[in-house]
Symmetry: D2
Subunit: 331 residues, 4 copies
């Protein structure tokens, strides 16, 4: 039986607790939070878990095999480093760390210790994203030419991280999972409407050697909630709308072809639309199982540290570009 400690029982921690607690192969021994109210919630819902405010207990307990870190981003590096140093496997909430350098140090340490270091990019485990991956790998879409994602709503303003660090990890991890190419540079812009200078609206463009382009629209201040991604290929195009209850993925049999020797250079093809049935199981449950498997069988998890590192690198570059007013930042 794998014994787990969960650090952080704020917004996302309860979802992690709920999903790991239903697995037969593991047991949550500790849930750690500095807030008394959150700890009393833990006691109410998980009477068999030890609710504590002192995090070091977790690292020093030899029984603990793995630590899940869902505390604020600024604490990720310190907690993960301690956990790895004490020989624990680590699952980090997204974004992995506050900087690329921190991510790289953790990765080195995990390799040295021979421990699993995984990042919670939950969307990789959704039925919709898995279906899109399957469609792309089946060759239906052709070469991907653009990836355009909008993730906006009236969101909780974070105090420690801006909208890029808060929302973009979802879309960048999806992009990275679906597209087999790393971007070469970032151009970003944004604005803060609060005194603390934390951006609440941001726009990011990723440039690719292959001439693909990716773009992210991110906002905490939109009256309408939109979570829509357009993926354009040379053969077909996909629209992924995460807010659709049952029709999240649409495949458009639509493309365009360059006609060289005519006056009308571009020829469109508009055809049928296909809405595949998508698996409805909870994504976080799949992630929890993937983490346990990685620990017990050595199987590489889907949402691994490569994904975490790549996301953090892009976030860092995007922030730098915003601060430098759109200056292209090479990756």
């Amino acid at each position: 039986m794998i014994k787990i400690a969960l650090i952080g029982f704020g917004y996302w921690g309860p979802n992690l607790a709920r999903n790991f607690s239903t697995l037969d192969s593991c047991q949550i021994k500790y849930i750690v939070d500095s807030n008394k109210q959150r700890l009393s919630l833990v006691k109410k819902h998980y009477p068999n878990v030890t609710a504590i405010s002192e995090v070091d207990t977790v690292f020093n307990d030899r029984e603990i095999d793995a630590v899940i870190i869902a505390s604020p981003v600024s604490t990720h590096f310190t907690f993960a480093k301690k956990a790895l140093t004490h020989g624990k496997h680590v699952l980090l909430e997204k974004p992995m760390t506050s900087s690329r350098a921190e991510a790289e140090e953790l990765i080195e340490l995990a390799k040295k210790q021979g421990k699993v270091l995984m990042v919670d990019h939950t969307f990789l485990y959704t039925g919709a994203v898995k279906k899109i991956k399957e469609i792309i790998e089946g060759g239906q879409i052709g070469a991907i030419r653009y990836f355009d994602s909008t993730r906006i709503n009236l969101g909780l303003f974070q105090h420690d991280i801006n909208v890029v660090w808060d929302l973009a990890p979802h879309d960048i991890s999806i992009l990275r999972y679906l597209v087999d190419e790393e971007p070469v540079s970032v151009i970003a812009s944004g604005v803060s409407h609060t005194d603390n200078k934390i951006e609440n609206i941001a726009y990011i463009t990723l440039n690719y050697k292959s001439n693909m382009i990716a773009h992210f629209t991110l906002s905490w201040t939109s009256p309408v909630k939109i979570r829509k991604t357009l993926i354009g290929g040379t053969k077909k195009m996909v629209v992924y709308d995460d807010l659709e209850p049952t029709e999240k993925v649409r495949v458009y049999d639509t493309g365009f072809k360059v006609q060289d020797n005519s006056q009308l250079l571009i020829d469109y093809r508009v055809g049928d639309i296909y809405i595949p049935k998508v698996e409805q199981t909870e994504a976080l449950s799949g992630l929890a199982q993937d983490f346990i498997q990685a620990m017990t069988t050595g199987k590489k998890p889907l949402s691994d540290w490569k994904s975490g590192l790549s996301v953090v690198s892009i976030l860092e570059a995007a922030e730098k570009s915003i601060k430098n007013r759109g200056k292209e930042v090479l990756l």
Copy 2:
């Protein structure tokens, strides 16, 4: 009776012809097009109009009071200059010219000649945009903090201009009409998926001194058509969806307030939504009347050369930023 010549009977010309021909106060004398097929269409639908392929006839005819130029952008400057020089009023299809310098020269000439120089920014005459203007001027929205517009579809690839020059004039002219502040700089990115290097996808950010931000998503290669603009104010927010048949404008009684002295810095307010009835008359008919009025009464038209110049200046800066890979271009 005002006598008019229309140059260009391609995509947009027929709409101009149809709208001007229904006005009692004016008469279309010539329609000019270099394409024989287009001219035979003119003859069929407008038997009383002289269909010609030679444009100079128009300028040399003393009877002609006004020239409407709906030929390719690259010809705008030459034709408009000739028309103004010959003492004609001019209505130019959008975008006004291929460069800021050209626009400025035309404006000087129009002033000197005392003639109307107007640009066809049709959207300013739609019921939806007029209603939003009315709502903003009524003070309901408060200070505008952001303007985020998406205009994408499977669009006709242009051979002479990129997606920025083709689509952005609509959104920039709307923005300028609604927001009483000129941007200070532009950051833009884009990509071309064709050999001719003409961008088919582009993203533009406009920065403002007041900390407002504007952003445009433009594409000719989206399988879904989207024409949606979000306008966020300090008091309320507006969503303008031009594809909604009857509910184009939605006012969200939603805002956010910065709370300094609490841990949760931002306080949201989510309230009712209001969908005002919007006038359904054809926008181009309003523009046609505005042009005639400007000629006959001297009244400043809504879509004047200031609007045209501002749009061209921003387009030029956006293109420069794209070519310089996101470098901020000051206006």
Copy 3:
């Protein structure tokens, strides 16, 4: 060159005139209307057509091959009878006549005279309905078990016919075209909210020997416009939404199967959705060509008198059921 007369230039007449006037194989000689204003519109738009208020001119003119009757329903029988008697082919606006008896008399006369007698059930010529027909004939849907149509909006109140006679012909003609079985009885209910006792809301159920059921919801007084039809088969189901601009037809790979020997009797299957591309040409143009072809080649038209008679029979029975407060009327 076939010479045609059009009687009635009210709401629908102009559409008929426009479509027939673009055909090379025929020529509109007369347009008849009792209203002076309508006649002056005719003169403006169709200078080559003779605009008259006296209908007998049409019947007495030997040059006239065919008469299109788009005048009020109450006049259909008289005008069509005269036209057929004078040896003209006839196209009747829907509904064909005010009663089954009238329809039958016209049919007998047309047979005797050897002339085409056709009814304008425009929807049979739409890309959407043709696509659904094709899908059903391909066997994808299986046996049809239900047909449920809603056609409601803020509609023009008619003075001479109720909402059943006004709106139901569309849906009944579509139903009849798609389903190879005639109903055995009608149950209907409705209400009038005006002093003239003309129903503005009505509900019709058609019963079938095969245990299929069809239902129509009809209203002139709905604040939202809905034109949606559900067609459920034993294998798949179709949803036809006429208000969708590009996605009018959706095929659901969804069915249910009766499981006899288990406690859960019914087993559902929910699968992919498929949105076929649908032809976008104007339906009325197809109808016009079909009418001309029927005259010149003897080919049976799609929207023939059988369709017209069946529709009128059902309308008559539905009205009778409403007046008898839901009493089943056998067909």
Copy 4:
């Protein structure tokens, strides 16, 4: 502390258990179910509740103040009668009973025993229905002229009751709550596509003395889920779409007026649309509190036996009309 027993832990029972268990003023002592698997679920989630399969324990336990009955409809009467006879308050799942006679007998008994007899018409406690009630009572809608409800989806086929008894209680209870008039007669039709002759599609019309009309479309076999109600008044109209996540209620400032002395008899008014913010709390929690209050303070509950009786009377009449093929059944 009020002690409660819950009979039935199938589809709806767990929701009742969850909501009553969070109330401080009451305690669930027993949960009864004949299915062993369901009982083991009870033990897992409610360790402090006694899980039993023998229902009489409940009636014989003097500590029990109230019994909630969520077992199959056919058992409602027997269980409720026993509970009332033993001096317990009763909350019945909808529909109240299998017949009007049963409902009336229970009501007499409840009155005699001085106990609360309440029916779980959950929708009366939703934010949306409460908001519509408030709007109607405020006089905005005027006199209601029609109520048209569609409740269709791929639903669970019931073995003991048809689609009318399963789905219509929701809509009839809402209708009755919003409209201050009882219907005078019912006309209904339906069909069964299974061997057991249980209708899976049904249509019900209710007639009113005031000339109002109500209609219900009910189906377990629609590939699309629709839960939409149109409520038309003399002044304004309401559309209630229960599937909209945040915009469930829309008020259309739309009406029609009869103009007697003109040729165009009806004059439409189409105005703004207003989408009020609607309370988001769980409806069942409000119902639970209402039941407790009714017991402790004697306050008449919202979803009282009058509502239950009226619903059952209409269901009974509708079924009779279906069996008699549309024959009007007087109420």
